[in-house]
Symmetry: C3
Subunit: 269 residues, 3 copies
């Protein structure tokens, strides 16, 4: 390819782009956040159920590879992601090792968005950070519901009810508190590893000093604004697109090269 | 996290949830069931084609990782899955090792749902179990159709025609029988392994005695209603969310640990 | 299964199928072509953004596993794929190793379709082959945009603006040329390996002699129209469903068995 000198045409002042707050919010969507596996046969069944109960409502697949069994990491990841997605959506969240046992099920309204799923801590960080919340327990199991697939048989119909304004309904009762609660603080651990090997931590970057170094797996890692600011192969931390401290290696796979995984503790030096 | 005592708020009587049969059925969707690979570039081309011929019709991705080349397993898996998805959809099914050869192509109407795809046995179990069927052969190949991608060039336009009520049309002719037929009986084999390693068999659980043990790969496996009823690491069979006998290991990977794969024979002890 | 003699019911004259050119083109869709990873958490964020700025517009996931860092291969792959998808769509393309640096960003209109993404060569083949083009540089970064996720924060809002007829707008300025250009010629390399192991080359098959052999990784490979024309295990090249010369092995994995990967040079013997 021939290449002319590239010109930076992106103005840092934002040009004429509207600020997100000025945006129309659009119709309510149902946003899925699960450990069902993106390629398996569970997600499609949930979508078919949503289509049946809430025809015409958009379904957005945010993530189906949530680290399984790690509810605490999932709770912090979801709390970070929803900040960027706009208000008013219905989140159907399923990380549910206790499905089929007596764990409670919940509908949470927090700061204008809705959350439907198991009451096992998955929404606890969102609730703890919210300025305002309302909480309902789900009671009743639809006839014929599978004990192993509440995502399809209980949470999807309930999320559809919220999205179609059939809420509150007779299948819920108000409650004052989540059954499993958490504090609003950050989680100083790796909470997600993306397919490039970049490691999300549960530490919010806003307010963190750019002079700070992150310690993880025996390494001390400096800040950079973008990958291009460090030499190839060098580790860095930066504020990622979800507002979290993320550990990465320019042109490398940080998780593998630094020995990090979901649950690895991190700390400021 | 702090945890209060969880309360079982799910009433087994169903609370106020509507029974599935009482549900409005919603608009017709096109449901995809293929071996195209979820992450490859084929599915999006099919969806673009559907969008062109049936704009506005919802497309649901049920499964794109159907075990390739195993039409018999796929036929039993599809028959189990459609039971839970509601009537009136158009299923576009493609497991088609014979694409480009002289195998026939078909539109099947069975018990109120529609099936479009190769006439190679993929829909044979559904047809054999249906109370009523109508069958049409697809004749003609659209100009410029690829000999290797009938899913995009023949089946997608035909599924779209059904979904938009442009059916029957001049590209089909009624026929009395599928070209490749099967009986209605269960298939005593592993027909699908999910990403947790759980093994679907082709045996319908309804009517099976919970006292029965399943024999597979030299092991004898007892029933449990849910995983939590067996010790961690112990194998169990249970009625899965699609109504099939499924072999699993609590907190384990049954396929790997028991040596099971699609095609492994199973039997009642 | 019992099997009656299959009958070829597909008429090569096309039967009554409408030719693609006669089709209604349907509403404009936004088609995604990225290296974000199909199963990661980036695609859903882009879709949520599109839903916010262009509610109701269909989003089609063409490919999210574009070979990373190989812009040239991606450019040829995209050029081949769009030929079969119909006119009038908005392609949001992201293969963007330079995100966060001074590389330019662009909106291209070429032969009735639209392309939004980095101006790094990704759309250069399409532009070079188009009968007519119009080009706009994107200027301005929305307030709060992440320096590492222009797909979500710049390209998605711009693609939505095009799809909703809010274009050209004050965030673009016309320009005469792409910053990174390419010629219209084929690319004699492997440009994509699908999940079956079949190897797309960047050579268009139209006009290629079926008597020609393709040389790749020290092997010479003959033409066949379909897989069934060669013995199992034998390599072949054929015109694939995107109009490209593709190297495959009947019932085999050509990439692994022939030692091919994205970037491997190929040539006519």
């Amino acid at each position: 390819m021939s290449e002319s000198t590239p010109v930076s045409i992106l103005r840092e002042d934002g040009g004429g782009f509207p600020a997100p707050a000025e945006l129309r919010s659009g119709p309510m969507a149902i946003v899925l956040f699960t450990d069902f596996g993106s390629n398996d046969l569970y997600v499609g069944q949930v979508e078919a159920q949503l289509d049946r109960y809430a025809p015409g409502v958009r379904v957005i697949h945010l993530l189906h590879e949530v680290p399984p069994f790690n509810i605490r990491a999932a709770a912090h990841l979801l709390a970070a992601l929803v900040r960027g997605l706009g208000r008013g959506h219905v989140y159907l969240g399923v990380v549910d090792p206790g499905v089929g046992t007596a764990r409670a099920a919940v509908v949470l309204r927090a700061d204008g968005s809705w959350y439907v799923g198991p009451d096992n801590g998955l929404f606890a960080v969102i609730a703890a950070r919210a300025a305002s919340t309302s909480i309902w327990r789900i009671r009743g199991v639809p006839p014929g519901a599978s004990p192993s697939f509440h995502g399809r048989d209980i949470f999807a119909p309930m999320a559809a009810a919220v999205a179609t304004d059939d809420f509150p309904n007779e299948n819920v009762e108000p409650t004052a508190e989540l059954a499993v609660r958490a504090g609003p603080d950050d989680l100083a651990e790796v909470i997600y590893v993306d397919h490039f090997g970049n490691c999300f931590t549960g530490i919010r970057a806003q307010g963190a000093s750019r002079a700070g170094w992150i310690r993880a797996a025996g390494r001390e890692i400096p800040h950079a604004r973008v990958f291009a600011e460090v030499p190839p192969g060098a580790p860095l931390w930066y504020e990622n697109s979800s507002g979290l401290v993320e550990i990465a290696i320019d042109q490398g796979h940080a998780a593998r090269e630094l020995g990090l995984a979901v649950g690895t503790a991190v700390a400021w030096r």
